[in-house]
Symmetry: C2
Subunit: 256 residues, 2 copies
């Protein structure tokens, strides 16, 4: 099943995506069994929102060997989570806005995203596996000069629109047996196997929930193998086989 949040008549609603249509649902499918309300929209007319607004937005840094090597960093010896911020989330087809002050590398990273479906504390590996509601796609847009100059990742990774997520949550897919492809204006710029992760989502959930409670709707972004430079006027697509394609145009910020 594929579920997303979409904007209808100015309001966010949940929808099931099937047969080229968005079927509007009564409630969130994450903890309950939603019903189709009867209204449906062709996908071409759908205004996609981030498929979930998490209570906690977890993200993983160095989690693919070539990404670690690219930075000359030491590979992590244990799975440690970090955080991103909800203000930065945006939906499929919505613009990534490059701030006027950004110079240097402004890059996309295509990531598998786990959407947590249960309350979890001290999860075993099998409990972690059973806890997943589904999988979506994230683009961890980063302004590298800020990332290096600032004390935290606040604006380098959390400026508005820097975290496209979507287009939907796929509930039936093996996230570790897929291929991630990053395209700019249709040209392939990166391709890697999702399964090449150093630590998989369940490793992170087992380790994190030794100390903290994960809740339904929390998300865990799993890191990327490659960085792809973004330019205003172009469109970036992250395709993960078995899930879908997240597409966002890149715009230059105009001051108000």
């Amino acid at each position: 099943m594929r579920y997303s949040r979409i904007r209808v008549d100015g309001r966010p609603v949940w929808a099931e995506i099937a047969d080229g249509l968005a079927h509007i649902m009564d409630i969130s499918p994450i903890e309950t069994e939603p019903l189709r309300l009867g209204r449906r929209l062709p996908l071409a007319d759908v205004d996609f929102l981030p498929p979930v607004i998490p209570g906690v937005f977890y993200a993983v840094g160095f989690n693919y060997r070539s990404h670690v090597e690219h930075y000359g960093a030491k590979a992590p010896d244990r799975p440690e989570v970090g955080y991103r911020a909800n203000n930065a989330l945006t939906g499929h087809h919505q613009p990534i806005v490059k701030p006027a002050e950004v110079t240097g590398r402004f890059e996309a990273e295509g990531e598998v995203v786990a959407v947590i479906g249960r309350t979890l504390r001290r999860a075993s590996r099998s409990e972690a596996q059973e806890s997943i509601f589904g999988w979506t796609i994230g683009n961890d847009v980063s302004a590298r000069e800020w990332q290096h100059a600032d004390r935290t990742f606040w604006r380098s990774k959390n400026s508005d629109t820097f975290k496209p997520m979507g287009p939907w949550i796929e509930t039936d897919v093996d996230p570790l047996a897929q291929t991630t492809t990053v395209r700019v204006d249709g040209g392939v710029r990166a391709r890697f196997a999702t399964g090449d992760m150093l630590f998989d989502p369940f490793d992170f959930i087992v380790e994190a929930t030794k100390y903290l409670t994960m809740h339904p709707g929390d998300v865990l972004w799993m890191g990327a193998d490659s960085n792809v430079q973004l330019e205003p006027g172009r469109t970036v697509e992250i395709e993960i086989s078995g899930i879908g394609t997240l597409s966002n145009p890149v715009l230059e910020e105009r001051h108000p």
Copy 2:
């Protein structure tokens, strides 16, 4: 006015705190004008929750000169936000649970917390001042060995119960003209003027909203001057004059 969230009949509800009573309200006061529903509880019977669950949980690191000097760090030259995680929030009177694996310094920091009341982007200083719904108290509990050993602050600052907040939001107080007092079992362990901040809340809001949108209910924890060691079996109180007192017992974790 003082507002909090409390648990009544197992459910979270908003309450106005006045005359030694919690007056249950119909809706959140943050963006609307709530009504008293008639039911009220003596404060002694109130089960306090964190007074707000933020969409984004902002926190400030080095923001008092003696705290910076304590760490031999360089004082920040600009106001940069960081993040904490909602799972760690807990309410007034709820236990801070020290994980069994924690050794070394396990410390409290008493912080002024701004609760944002409006949607803000590119705020001027006066817009930042007008955007505040009110002020509450946070205790930024930290396990220092983890803080130094880990890549991020995930478990050092975001383990469950490490972020007591409350007891309520005070809407009518000058947060920069108060005194913060940290007590353990009634004995004063730290006392400092809130106004000794390097950057004030409005400096942070002006800088942050150059790049990101703040939303009603977001919180901004303002940092502390001093660290106070916590021991299981004792109770830590953070009093900020003009706001109130946040009190939490410290417990040792027992494995299930």
